[in-house]
């Protein structure tokens, strides 16, 4: 896995807004966003961005449905770790490549893959953003690291960008356990993330 290090100073792609937000945050040693290459699809880079105090969730959701946002908008309260999103994205790209996607686009497929069930509308309801949400996790898939549409997203989201590594501060553990039906005995043999990943990876043979 290659992490593409990009500090706000180095990147030519950051908008003024992003630099402003970044400089307002305490530097924790992490990048705000997370860009990773997938071993199975070396031609693609996956970028995750996290926002809190989002005021325009309704507009964002409408834009995403209209296809004006080329990214997946996820409700961060059902996410345990960025790895969860990475697993869903990898699977979406795989299914796209073999022509077996269950939904219409790569980004909707990412949201669908996060769900433990095969019900599409349920997946969007639980894992996509809804109008009342104040936080959003954005996933972008781009063919080349330098030609991503991160600045476009940054200009569209009216909220505060925080480090993707702080995702767990927004997780609703009780809700996650309920959605994925994680029993207390299962937690004896592994973490909540393990349980979630297993459900996601195996749901097509349930």
């Amino acid at each position: 896995m290659q992490y593409i290090a990009k500090t706000p100073q180095q990147s030519e792609l950051q908008t003024a807004k992003f630099i402003w937000i970044a400089s307002c945050c305490v530097y924790t040693g992490f990048e705000m966003h997370l860009s990773q290459r997938l071993e199975l699809f070396p031609e693609y880079t996956v970028t995750q961005l996290l926002f809190k105090d989002v005021k325009n969730a309704t507009d964002l959701r409408k834009n995403a449905i209209a296809g004006e946002i080329s990214g997946a908008l996820i409700n961060p309260s059902v996410l345990v770790d960025p790895f969860q999103v990475l697993v869903a994205t990898n699977k979406a790209l795989h299914l796209q490549k073999i022509g077996k996607m269950k939904t219409r686009s790569l980004y909707s497929e990412i949201i669908f893959n996060l769900s433990p069930t095969n019900n599409i509308s349920e997946a969007f309801k639980n894992f996509g953003i809804s109008d009342s949400d104040s936080a959003v996790q954005v996933v972008l898939v781009h063919a080349d690291a330098e030609q991503n549409n991160m600045d476009d997203i940054l200009s569209k989201v009216d909220g505060q960008q925080i480090s993707v590594h702080h995702i767990s501060s927004l997780s609703n553990i009780a809700k996650i356990k309920k959605l994925y039906k994680v029993s207390p005995q299962e937690e004896l043999c592994g973490s909540l993330l393990d349980a979630v990943i297993c459900r996601m990876a195996t749901k097509d043979v349930l």
Binding site: E39, L40, L86, K91, Q185, C189, I197, C198, T202, V205
Partner: protein
Amino acid sequence: MAVEKTNNHVLHFLRSAELLKQGAEARVYRGEFLGKPTVVKERFPKLYRHPTLDEKLTHRRTVQEVRSILRCRKAGISVPVVYFVDYTSHCIFLEDIVGSVTVRDYINSAHTSEAKNLEVVARKIGEILAKMHDEDLVHGDLTTSNMLMKRGPGCGEADLLLIDFGLSYISALPEDKGVDLYVLEKAFLSTHPNTEALFETLLKSYSASSKKSQTVIKKLDEVRLRGRKRSMVG
């Protein structure tokens, strides 16, 4: 078909991974996947079988293995996490248990002074198998090589993992569970000579932990007399 397979991105990835083992059914690789140490089990095409039959059997076994892993985890039995499954190339991407040793290697490398530790491990195995059989899951290929131990202090619940559910199936029959234990007994005593007492410890722990152990042990005694295959009468 062959051309299509080599174009597969998963198989392309496996070419750069380290081949760990090759068996009759599958090849096992080690590599990094989504930034995590990962083991990939690839059920390769068997050219000696009719392609349609081969595809069907391989697919079914891959599905079966994945299902059994999930069933185990739900019951609180430690098994490697499934990261990703490709049903076109029949590859399962699993968590790599870094720093683990097989129970086989552990027993073989143990010194006589460590007999107490071996007993703890045997009891632990008995408990885990009891839990698995109580979930009506039959492993189908129990050997000490298919059990991993995480090296660490103590021997807690999570420190012993079962692997290779390729031959596993769901059955509530005491007969199937008895055969499962019989297969383990045969494998155990032949890989680890003079360990009858140790295996006895394992069975005692199994009996103490399982709610349905009585009928299973009774079946095990029957199976010992006649062998693994049930007599074909009628």
